[in-house]
């Protein structure tokens, strides 16, 4: 070999080895995944499944209550769909009592578990309860996870204000008073991201909130950024870390932005990260439960609504945030509001109950009914001496949102709003109330806008 070839040949071999090593590390790293992500809850009982239950929360005084549960069993390696044989007990205590009483769960033919809590428990202000279920394979789980230390609660209601919406008339929606922000789909400076493709959901910006000085902050998670629209100013893009496909957002009174990241395929648990007004990260904490759908500001910081318990978990003001263990200790069935109040919601297709409670006592309550199917409750915020509520009304082929101003005596006003949901957002993040203005995240095939509706009238 000629000597002049030695150095180029050596370089060729070195370059090849370095390149191959870097690519291999990259590929293997992608395959193994990132184990340094958010970790899950601390309690591992060996129960590899889930207890499903919808807490009744608000029940008529003096009536028995049925508590229903279903259990999703961990797949077994030989036949993952095989059923298990769960059994267990509900533990109940009246608000005046110290000790819990065991009520065995009965199983029906389909494996659904239930227990009827006698009317004696609803003659007073209500009761606490939790369930222990054994899956028939030797593993047990409590729901809520902390059991007796942080139980679920039921408030009894009497003399609630009745609001009958009758049959909803579609097509009489109110036009927005103002469009405060308007963006096309895309990844550019004045655009918001759209995730779409064959055989998958069509997802736009997940959420938004309104901060100090009425600046609108949009979670543009597809482009991994926040977009801030100052009132009358130029929009600003603030890049942030975001792992999942969707999330939610809440802005504190001091401008701190709290982002709920559902984790998606990248992380097993949702996480809340806080950022200052310029998008600089402050802190982050995992949520105590594996599924979370809402983050809202409470008087003591953000609170997150999560599953399977359907409790509200406080995550703490910015830095240091609360650990999952501390979140579990402080979890509440109602959402904390100003003045020591909590907002409590329980809705079904035929009726929706709302209450403002203080501790164990109901301060005000409403029963909303309609002969048109009720959908999800998008918003329930204290307003005046009552609540401002936004809920969906739907048939098989139509849907609209109805805004209800609930005063202590009943319905003080209402109007309908176009659903404008061409792209999906976080499921309960289409509306925000700021002062007397209701904001809506709307979308069509050309892009997204934030619309404003002045509520007006006597509070």
């Amino acid at each position: 070999m000629k000597r002049s070839w030695r150095w180029p040949l050596a370089g060729f071999v070195v370059g090849g080895l370095v390149g191959a090593t870097l690519l291999t590390v990259n590929i293997v790293g992608a395959f193994v995944g990132d184990s340094a992500g958010v970790v899950g809850p601390q309690v591992d009982s060996g129960f590899n499944g889930e207890i499903l239950h919808t807490p009744p929360l608000l029940v008529p005084r003096g009536q028995p209550v049925e508590l229903g549960y279903e259990v999703v069993c961990a797949p077994s390696p030989d036949r993952p769909g095989a059923a298990c044989s769960p059994k267990g007990s509900v533990h109940v205590r009246g608000v005046e009592d110290r000790d819990f009483i065991d009520v065995p769960l009965a199983a029906d033919r389909d494996g659904r578990l239930s227990a009827t809590i006698g009317a004696g428990y609803t003659l007073g202000a209500g009761f606490d309860y939790y369930v222990d279920i054994e899956d028939g394979r030797g593993a047990s789980q409590s729901l809520p996870g902390a059991g007796r230390d942080s139980p679920q609660h039921v408030w009894t209601v009497a003399g609630e204000a009745n609001v009958d919406l009758n049959e909803h008339v579609f097509g009489r929606t109110r036009a927005p008073d103002e469009i405060v922000a308007e963006m096309a789909w895309g990844s550019g400076d004045r655009q918001l991201g759209l995730s779409s493709g064959p055989e998958q959901a069509r997802i736009g910006p997940s959420a938004f909130d309104v901060g100090p000085e009425r600046a609108v902050v949009v979670l543009d998670q597809v482009n991994k950024r926040l977009v801030v629209y100052p009132r009358g100013g130029t929009p600003r893009n603030l890049p942030i870390p975001f792992d999942g496909g969707e999330g939610d957002l809440a802005v504190g009174g001091n401008g701190t932005i709290y982002v709920l990241d559902d984790g998606g395929a990248a992380a097993p648990m949702p996480v809340v990260r806080s950022f200052d007004g310029d998008g600089r990260p402050i802190a982050g904490t995992p949520i105590a439960e594996p599924v979370a759908d809402m983050i809202r500001m409470g008087p003591d910081g953000p609170v997150v609504h999560s599953y399977p318990s359907e409790l509200w978990f406080p995550t703490g003001i910015a830095k240091p945030p609360l650990s999952p263990a501390r979140q579990i200790e402080l979890a509440r069935p109602g959402r904390a509001a100003e003045g020591g109040l909590e907002v409590v919601v329980h809705a079904s297709p035929r009726q929706a109950r709302f209450a403002l409670v203080r501790g164990g006592q109901v301060v005000s309550s409403w029963l909303v009914t309609s002969s048109t199917s009720l959908g999800e409750v998008q918003l329930a915020e204290p307003y005046g001496d009552g609540l401002l509520v936004v809920l969906r009304l739907w048939t098989e082929s139509q849907a609209e949102f109805r805004v209800l101003r609930l005063a202590r005596a009943g319905l003080a006003g209402s109007f309908s709003v176009d659903r404008a949901e061409w792209a999906e957002s976080a499921s309960l993040s289409r509306f925000r109330l700021h002062g007397d203005t209701l904001y809506q995240l709307r979308s069509d095939s050309s892009g997204t806008e934030i619309a404003a509706f002045e509520i007006g009238g006597t509070k």
Binding site: P8, G11, G15, L23, A265, A266
Partner: protein, 211 residues
């Protein structure tokens, strides 16, 4: 002077070597990423009717796994082995199902569309099945029918022309439904509260013949 000559010889060699490495290793990696599907199989067995609960248990095995358009296999370790694949490309061969393939497997359906009976697909069986989300929306195939959304219960589904998700737990406190679905590449597969029931884009879909 001599070192400069060595360097002048070495540098083109390093550049050439790096380029060759990228061409040899980089191109297949870019095209096929993790090739998770390379570890999958074609195993299934035919069964008699199962319950809705068994179907939900099976679907739960895919929670916290990935999403892959046109895909159909996952390993139940609660990690997406192929995160961040470019969406909309079936050739990335990543882990997880897409929305319609997930429904097909979780409903224990057979690939033969006139055959309404049950087939257990192993989790690592790489099968999508013959139906799109729109097919489920319109009740295509012998096992599938449409149903009023107001009458749906768990293990039924809500289907649009572009997406389908199965009811995991109907009617939460805020009157959503918890849906189990293969959602998108960044979302993966999992259970989330959704408002599909009241969205006119979506119709009710049901598998027949549960035991």
């Amino acid at each position: 002077m001599r070192n400069r000559a060595k360097l002048a010889g070495l540098l083109p060699g390093v550049v050439g070597g790096l380029m060759l490495a990228v061409l040899v290793f980089g191109a297949p990696a870019g095209a096929y990423h993790t090739d998770f599907q390379g570890h999958c199989n074609g195993s299934f067995l035919n069964l008699g009717p199962i319950t809705r609960g068994e179907s939900r248990n099976y679907a739960y095995s895919a929670a916290a796994e990935g999403y892959q358009w046109g895909g159909g296999c996952w390993n139940n370790d609660n990690i997406d082995q192929s995160p961040g694949d470019p969406p909309g490309d079936p050739n990335t061969r990543g882990e997880g199902p897409d929305c319609s393939g997930f429904t097909f497997k979780a409903w224990y359906e057979r690939a033969e569309t006139p055959d309404p009976w049950f087939r257990y697909h192993y989790l690592m069986q790489n099968v999508h099945g013959p139906y799109t989300a729109a097919d489920f929306k319109y009740g295509v195939g012998a096992p599938n029918i449409t149903v009023a959304k107001a009458n749906t219960i768990f293990a039924d589904a809500f289907a649009s022309t572009y997406h389908i998700g199965m009811i995991y737990w109907a009617q939460t406190g805020y009157n959503e439904d918890r849906i189990i679905e293969a959602k998108c590449e960044a979302c993966g597969t999992g259970t989330w509260p959704r408002t599909y029931r009241g969205n006119p884009d979506y119709s009710g879909a049901r598998r027949l013949y549960w035991s």
